[in-house]
Structures are given as C-alpha cells and as structure tokens.
C-alpha cells in the first residue's frame, strides 16, 4: 500500500492558513448572527443575502467588482508594508493624497489624449501617495519612532488638506459646493463593460497585485523584504540594509495606496470630494490580514469584502437589516483572524520556545502578523 502524496493530516489541519480563514469567517458569522436576530431577521437567510445573492445577477456581480476595486489597492498596499514588518496604518491618508493629485492632474490635462492623461494621473497619484508615506518611514529608520502613530496621525492631516482645498482654491466656482472641478473626459477611466460602473481601475488593481506578487515572491528585492519582515536582526546579519528595505517597502505601499485614490477619482467620482473614501485605507488592513498578507489572498479577500459590501446594501432593502452590519462583520472578521493567527503562533512556538519571553516581538521591531505562505 502506497502512502498518499501529501499528508492528509497536514491538509486537514485546522491550523493551515486557508482553513484558518474559513474558521474565522464561520466564527464571524456566528458572532454577527446576534445583531441579525436583533434586527428581526433569520441569520441563515441574511448570510445567503450577504454572500450569495450579490453573485446571482449581472448588475450586482459587477457591483461586487466595483466595490472590490479600491480595496484591492489598499489591501495590497498594507500587505506590502506589513510583509516587511512596517506597520503602515496610513493607507487612508496616502489614498487621499493620490486622489488629490489625480484630481489636480486630471483637471489640468485638458485636451491631451487619454494615452497621455491616464499615465500622467497614475504617476502623479503614486508619487503623491509615496511622498505622504516618506516622512514616517524616515522617522522610523532614522530615529526609531513608531510608524504606527505617525502614519495614523497623517490620515486626519490628509483629510484636512482635502477639505482645505475643497473649501478654498478648489471650491466649485459655480455651485459653491466643496467639490473640485470635474476632470477632463480623457482623464476618466473607461468603463470595462457597457451599462456598468466597472472601470479600468479594477484591471490596474489586478496588474499591480500581479507585479507585487512577482516582486515579493520571485526577486531579490522581494526576498530582502520578506527577510526583514521575518527577522530584522537576522536580515541585518545576512548583510541586508534593513533601513533601505523598510523605506522602499513604505514608499511602495504608499504609492499603491495612492493609486487607490486615482482609481476612485478617475473611475467613479470624476472629481475630488471629501467623502471620497469611506475608510478604504482601514478596510485595506482587513483585506491584507484576511488575505494573510499574500497577494492571491488579497485578491480573494477584496472580492469577498466587496461581495459583503454589496450584500449588506441589498440586505438592507430586502430584509430590513441596517447596512452598517457590513462594518460590524469587517471588524469582527479582522479581530477573529488576528486572534486565530496569534493562537496558532502560540501553538507553533510553544514546544521549541527556549528564548526569552515575548520572543515573537524582538527589541525594537515587531514581527509581522504572520509568516504567510508566499
């Protein structure tokens, strides 16, 4: 009798990464059935509405992809930084800077053809996002200042910058509304499919993720990034410049988050508004964590959360469950995943744990959420 090629024990282990995410989703649904019951709905019917119904019609299916588009970018942005052990909580602000740059360039390109206007906007957005990420990265590597707080604090500053522009120089001169001028027609992302809001940004998001996957998994730069994320001290010992790697990761993360802003301005809003992002930067943290910081996982997580977002709004109409349940599910899901990841880490390190207490978080640099499967 031959042994099976792969050990079934490993495949069925509840601690394997895909199983862990499925368990987290199950726990989340269990926990959130409480509020659904309070809303007077049947949880089973509600989850069907959340997860399945959006996939059953052409319109809602396309809307799922539209909802997934911005969080594809922010999820990838967060995952890139977290993989390097750089805790970029500032994707929201970097997104807003990207959006601002896109609105400015998009309105300025005027008569230029799309082949010039679109790359110009993308480049400006990526640059703006990266520049917003630069200061916290420098403070981190130069002075060891915790980037969590600095990246987080720059989010409200970015929002104030946007509202300042919209109430000041960019205020609509005709209506007086705090909205920037509409971007040129050539600067708008074309729709991918007729009679839908699905736009070029979705494809760009997938391309960015494909590139990020290739760079992280297959290039020396990606190896350095992963090495620094797993063990900064080990990486330094191996001759890797930890500072440079962290800065590159932070800038790449900021640039990708900036592209999320470009995508929303060029694909959906066609102008800068202060309500452009309902927290896509923070949702990016959910997407990246749920995707266990791996790029294919980010795509799946973004599609899943896009599905939930559309489901939450249809369930609000058909079942009378407030659509804010979507945010509750996001929060509970994020907490369940980090808790399970921490439990697994505790299990896997306990037998061999001979180091000092708190070995998973060494002196000045903490380890990433999880060592993902590349």
């Amino acid at each position: 009798m031959r042994l099976p090629r792969t050990s079934p024990r490993y495949r069925l282990s509840p601690w394997s990464t895909p199983a862990l995410v499925v368990i987290a989703v199950a726990i989340t649904f269990l926990v959130t059935s409480g509020p659904i019951l309070l809303a007077g709905a049947n949880p089973i019917a509600a989850y069907a509405e959340f997860v399945v119904i959006p996939l059953t019609s052409r319109f809602t299916l396309l809307e799922v992809l539209v909802s997934a588009t911005p969080i594809l970018f922010t999820g990838a942005a967060v995952a890139i930084a977290f993989r390097a052990g750089y805790w970029n909580i500032g994707a929201e602000g970097q997104l807003l800077l990207g959006a601002t740059a896109a609105a400015g360039v998009g309105a300025a390109v005027g008569d230029l053809p799309a082949i010039v206007a679109l790359p110009a906007m993308l480049a400006a957005g990526a640059l703006a996002g990266a520049s917003w990420a630069l200061l916290p990265a420098l403070l981190r590597v130069r002075f060891g200042i915790d980037e969590v707080v600095t990246t987080l604090l720059l989010n409200p500053v970015a929002l104030l910058l946007v509202t300042g522009l919209l109430h000041g120089p960019w205020r609509d001169p005709v209506t007086g509304f705090p909205e920037s001028p509409r971007i040129a027609a050539s600067a708008e992302f074309p729709a991918l499919i007729d009679r839908s809001r699905l736009h070029l940004g979705f494809v760009i998001g997938l391309i960015v993720i494909a590139i990020a996957w290739y760079v992280i998994a297959r290039t020396p730069a990606g190896l350095r990034l992963r090495a620094v994320g797993l063990s900064p001290h080990g990486a330094r010992f191996a001759g890797i410049s930890v500072s440079r790697t962290l800065i590159v990761a932070a800038l790449a993360s900021g640039a990708v988050a900036g592209l999320a802003g470009v995508s929303e301005v060029a694909g959906i809003q066609h102008r800068l508004t202060s309500g452009l992002s309902p927290g896509y930067g923070y949702t990016g943290i959910v997407v990246a964590t749920l995707g266990t910081l791996a790029m294919p996982g980010v795509i799946l997580a973004a599609l899943f959360l896009g599905d939930l977002a559309v489901g939450a709004s249809t369930a609000a109409r058909s079942l009378g469950i407030p659509s804010q349940l979507g945010a509750v599910v996001q929060g509970v899901l994020l907490l369940t995943v980090v808790a399970l990841l921490a439990l697994r880490r505790g299990r896997s390190t306990r037998p061999a744990d001979t180091g000092p207490a708190g070995a998973e978080a060494t002196d000045d640099e903490s380890a990433p959420v999880e060592e993902p499967v590349a």
Partner: protein, 304 residues
Amino acid sequence: MTFLIDLLAATLRNATPLVYGTVGETYAERGGVLNLGIEGTMYAGAFVGFAAAFVTGSPLLGLVAAIAAGLLSGAVMGILTVTFGANQHVSGIGLTIGLIGASEFANRLIFRGGELQRIDPMPLVNPLPDLGPASAIFSQYGLTWVAFVLVVPLAWWVLQRSSFGLEIRAVGENPEAADAAGVSVPRTRYLALMIGGALMAVGGAFFTLALLGSFTLDIIAGRGWVCIALVIFGRWRIGRGVVGALLFSLIYSLQFRLRILPGFGDLPFELLLALPYLVVIGALALSGRNVAYPGAYLKPYRRS
C-alpha cells in the same frame, strides 16, 4: 474681554473629551498595550450613553451605560492582546471598525434613521458664581468639572503614587520583573485596559449627554486619534497629556471663533486644525531617539 472669557470657557469645554480619552489611553499604554480601539470606544460611549439616556430618560444612567460599554471594550482588547497575544495595531483598528459599525447598526435599529432624537442634556453647573464676568469661564458641564477636579488628580495619584499604579507601570515597563515580584501581568493589564476603556467611553459620552444632547454619525471625528497623539506628546505623563489637550482645544476653539469674524473667512483654518497633529509629529522628530516608549510597549507577555 468677553471674547477671551468665551474662548477660555470653550477651551475647557472642548478639552473635556480629550482629557478623558488621553488619561484613558495613558493607562492602557503605561500597562504596555497601545489601544487603537480608542476611536471606536469613544464612539460606542457616545452612542450607548445616548441610547440609554434616551430610553431611561436619565443622563446619569446613560453615563453608567457608557462606562459599562467602555469596560467591555477594554476587556475585549484585553482578550485579544493579553490572553491571545494578538497584534496590537490590528486588534485596535479592528475594535474601532467593529464598534463604530455596531454603534451605527444599533442606531439604525433603535432610532430607524428618522428625525434626530434629543434628550435633555446634563445642565451647566457653576460653583463660582461670584467672580463677576469671569465666572462664565466656570460655568461648565458636570463632566468637565469631574474631569479636571476629580479624574485628572486621581488618575495621576493612582498611577504615580499608589501601589496599583506601580503595578501598572511595572507590567508596562518590565513584565518579567513584575511577574517575578508576584504581580499578575494579565490581571493588571486587563484592569489598565478596562479603566482606560471606561474613561474613553465617558469622553465620548460627553458629546451626547452634555454638549449636544443628541447622537449624530461621525460624532467623534478622529478625536480618539488626537488622544493617541496627546499621550505621546505628554510622554505618557497624565499632567503633560492634559496640558496638550488644553493646547489642542485652545487652537480648536480659537479657529472656530476667528472663522465667524469678518476678514478671517478666507484663512485656511484646516491648516490650523492640522497643527496639533503636525506638532506631535514634529516633537517626535525633534526628540529623536530620546522618546522613552514604555519598556514593554506593543509586546505581549508570555512566561517562558
């Protein structure tokens, strides 16, 4: 003169939620846990306080409910970061997303998104009515008086002078040593998080129970993040954090008053509002490597 008195009164009023939040976050961080759930905890405190006051008709019961919500929020953060040892940044952000979502969900459920519901807010009290025009400065909500006269001195005394405060600082500075000395690290961290959560929730409830008398979406509007900044600005000291809160509130109240004056309408007040954040980042940059984070900041504790 009236302008100045009005400004000072507004500064104390607007500083109140920041004081509660900053003191609460200081407790969590001195115990070794960065609680980014503060934004959500303040939001939940604002909503739960309002809903309970609306249902019972008593702002005081609303306050009690808000405190209970804050204790619960701190306990959840404890389960995640102390018991499971989960990543503190992600746990805090998740808590904030979940609590804001849950508050807005419950708000839709209870109030059906109809017309804005109101309660009779807590009244202003003025124990010093005999100071002439300046007495207007002291005409404040009860929660403001409690914050400055009771909570701040008491929180300072507990943290710096009591043996319980020493335990909190010990588990945040050097949990191994605290453990060796017989202090339960998990128990102390849970208590620090729950005390902190209760204070944050009261800070949020100040908006609904006193200042506004109603609950509106986005009511906290990033003030929790301001508190995170103020804790660092105050270098994890209660007194310096409160001074930071007063300065922030002064700038905030000033720009509000300048805005309505003729000739000031075109100034970019957003720049002024961004100032506190930039000051904190600048202060961090200037102090460079000398920022003394609590020794066990961000580190879960496991006996080896």
